[in-house]
Symmetry: C2
């Protein structure tokens, strides 16, 4: 199920942290941009995450791919950078499904 895959994405402390960073991201090391929804400035690029978490580049790339694959994160290439945005809609869907599956509230 979709929720299992998302739980799996959230089950790594690094990815969980990155998601929180994205949610809270304002502008970054990289040039300030708007996302496609016109909100501005939001998003983080790989390099920012690397620096923030002191991780090597391929490791960041790997985890971002995992996150993007679940839909929890959207990406937007911009010049030589790639920006990432938290997808709140998807997060909410996850929570709502949990509530349904586990009879909450």
């Amino acid at each position: 199920m979709d929720n299992v895959k998302i739980s799996q994405a959230l089950s790594d402390p690094i990815r969980y942290k990155i998601l929180m960073m994205l949610v809270r991201s304002d502008n970054a090391c990289c040039p300030v941009i708007s996302n496609s929804a016109g909100e501005s400035p939001v998003g983080l690029c790989n390099c920012e995450i690397m620096n923030e978490l002191s991780m090597i580049q391929s490791r960041v790339s790997y985890h971002m791919k995992e996150l993007v694959e679940t839909g929890l994160v959207n990406e937007e290439p911009r010049g030589k950078w790639k920006y990432y945005f938290a997808n709140s809609k998807k997060m909410l869907d996850y929570v709502d499904q949990l509530k349904r599956d586990f009879n909450l509230e």
Copy 2:
């Protein structure tokens, strides 16, 4: 963090399914019992889960231990059986923490 550990518990399709079964459990293969909160009949024993999911006993044991360790499931030994109950409070805590961490709603 606690939420990472819980996500990890939810990230296995079998455990996710068992949780749903527990939430929906009424009475079972084993004698009908009440849980310590006096609600009755609820809970499932190992054997029920084994049969339902066609899993060997040690595998069920392993997954139940994982679930109990997160607090998502409570256990109650009763004679030679062990009954399991979904802990809705813990599930709600998880959801609430998600909302806070990811700025939902």
